[in-house]
């Protein structure tokens, strides 16, 4: 995948939109729309911080970004155009916001978080878990899970058993087949986007680095 011009990040203080320093401004706008479009509801009413790095925005450019944000119900609270040192290593920073939920999510309950979500329990039919990042369920997923809700197609859903009513990753949606699938072996399972479909397969820690 080509380098992304717009990157969404969940931080402790909310959502940050990072704009690539070298990308064409027009490309930034297009990509921002593309990423916001599949997750319209998710961002409604959210306040975000814009990080532009070494790029300094021309007066018209900032207004244009504001315009797009407004269109999707976002409020740009802050624009940070201070140059910052990006870490050289490819490792993701380890302090990404993660929500730990120590209970079963039952029908009618909803977990919504602009970061990763870890659930120590089941996600029952009729329940929803929506996360901007990955979703890890140490239990059985029978309800709906939406990982990468802000458009991250690399997001994963991992669970001890994945029998979702519906599964979404970024803009992709899939549902379980109408017939009960044959029993899979006992190990944990993982859902990810491959090509343009969501596939569920055996979780293998060794494959993870290759996926990202």
């Amino acid at each position: 995948m080509a380098r992304e011009a717009v990157v969404f990040k969940g931080t402790r203080h909310g959502i940050t939109i990072q704009i690539d320093e070298d990308a064409q401004f027009q490309q930034v706008l297009t990509e921002l729309r593309e990423k916001l479009d599949p997750a319209r509801d998710f961002f409604l009413g959210a306040s975000v911080k814009l990080v532009t790095g070494r790029r300094s925005l021309a007066t018209g450019e900032q207004e244009a970004l504001m315009e797009v944000a407004k269109e999707y119900g976002l409020t740009l609270t802050e624009v940070d155009d201070e140059p910052r040192e990006l870490p050289e290593s490819q490792e993701e920073p380890s302090h990404e916001p993660t929500l730990l939920v120590r209970r079963t999510i039952r029908s009618g309950q909803r977990i919504h978080y602009p970061g990763h979500v870890v659930i120590l329990g089941d996600v029952n039919p009729g329940a929803e878990v929506v996360a901007a990042g990955d979703i890890v369920i140490l239990g059985t997923l029978r309800g709906m899970a939406h990982a990468g809700a802000s458009g991250d197609e690399n997001a994963l859903v991992i669970g001890l058993h994945l029998e979702p009513t519906q599964l979404r990753i970024a803009g992709f949606i899939c549902r379980s087949p109408d017939e009960k699938p044959p029993l899979r072996h006992g190990g944990p399972e993982m859902a990810c986007v491959q090509g343009d479909v969501i596939v569920i397969r055996t979780y293998d820690a060794g494959q993870l680095s290759g996926l990202k």
């Binding site: 039952r106 029908s107 009618g108 089941d122 039919p125 009729g126």
Partner: protein
Amino acid sequence: MPGKALVITSGKGGVGKTTATANLGLGLALRGHKVALVDSDTGLRNLDVVMGLENRIVYDLVDVIEGNCRLAQALIRDKRTRNLVLLPTAQSKEKDAVKPEQMKELVKQLKEEFDYILVDSPAGIEHGFRNAVAGADEAIIVTTPEVAAVRDADRIIGLLEASGLYDPSLIVNRVRPDMVRRGDMMDITDIIDILAIPLLGVVPDDEGIIVSTNRGEPVVLNGRCRSGEAFGNIVRRLEGEEVPFLDLRGDGIFEKLKRLVGLR
């Protein structure tokens, strides 16, 4: 020591909350406890009918709350045992005639005099449900082996947690032994898997329970009937006894024989 208030609830209608309330109440009373049954399904009262006490109602729960009578005047003594009373609700009022705080106060008063207060909740998750759970210390969820009933039970467990009632126990009602045998009915273990709460009992659906409900004679009085036996066991489990679950697979002598020689 003040008594314990249990709410019997389900979310979905028609799963047997009222029948369960009547049977557990009578069962506990017959074992020597002082029991008060409270019907909180204002506007659609049934508990008095199932108990066979409909013709004795003078005052009801709404009268007590509105101050038209004293609490003691509205309590109807059961015709079978002096240990059991019923507080019926109003048939001609709306559910919002009662507020959760008023219900809480009423249950508190009952707890001073009775060992067990069983509150029969209406179906649904609205005002009537909130009233029913208001004064409860513990909850019993009734469900049937149907996907929709289990889904609603799950929703109710979540709502109970939200109002501070953790760890409810479960009664699976209306289990058809013949269908379980054939594998045509939702498996009890599947239900427990989803709901993840302790199982209090499994009650088979038989003719006895239908006949007794229509007659106003709770089936728990009938020890020869399997549903009556099941409710009797639940009562004992409520008191902390360990009672093995009924084997619902084989009712017929033929099945029993087969099991005996190890054929199934």
